[in-house]
Symmetry: C2
Subunit: 157 residues, 2 copies
Amino acid sequence: MKEIERKFLVKGEFKSFAYQVIPILQGYLSSLPERTVRVRLYGERAYLTIKGISDAKGVSRFEWEKEISPEEARELMKICEPGVIDKSRYLIRVDAHLYEVDEFHGDNTGLILAEIELLSENEVFVKPEWLGEEVTGNPCYYNSFLVKCPYTKWMDK
Amino acid sequence: MKEIERKFLVKGEFKSFAYQVIPILQGYLSSLPERTVRVRLYGERAYLTIKGISDAKGVSRFEWEKEISPEEARELMKICEPGVIDKSRYLIRVDAHLYEVDEFHGDNTGLILAEIELLSENEVFVKPEWLGEEVTGNPCYYNSFLVKCPYTKWMDK
């Protein structure tokens, strides 16, 4: 499966538009962009996800995912790379699309990212007013980079 | 699950003792010993396996495994680290135990390794006469190392 995603910073109040909020904890068995292996606790559920490298535009990326038990996820997290991503995901519908807005905690406090998944690279979608600058394909905003280089340690913000 | 394994070189004729031979192809999404993520085609089946680091003696190691489809394995192999392990596994019963004897091909031709899985670290087992020197815990014989540093390139053999 290829996923087509676009990613944006968030510049305004968005929380009141959410119909659900999900706590997420995730660690990496491999944080290399060429072969990312992620363990994620997503609310009451858990997943193992493997992603390949993005294409040149950073929009389309090979993705493989299997649901695992939360106990398995917790066991696997023990052997993950140091640093775990802790965030709250707000689900917001805007017209026909779903925005996933991640508010980061811990070492990434202050960072809020919105992501939208599209069926094709040319698909039209509505940008709500709280949506900020697009950062699709910018590796600094990959969660796998934020593990090693968290937002609160960035110099140039 | 913790696995307790001991690993040996093979010094004599062993093939006639095998009751089954299975072709194996395996690649690594992460070959770090702290968090190995392996994709394996095993005969007609396929598995994703994650292993943690060994204890000090190199005998006991955290292991997690899920069966996946051969098609998924082939997709995942495309994004694995360069180099794939190609070997034939001979299954040999010796008294109550199973020896898995791997004859390597490709860049690891010439290398033959036997492995036995035990229920406890002190379990007694029979060593058949074709069994050579023990190499348990020697990282040079990890498959994840053989990907990067194959046997035919070793200087000191």
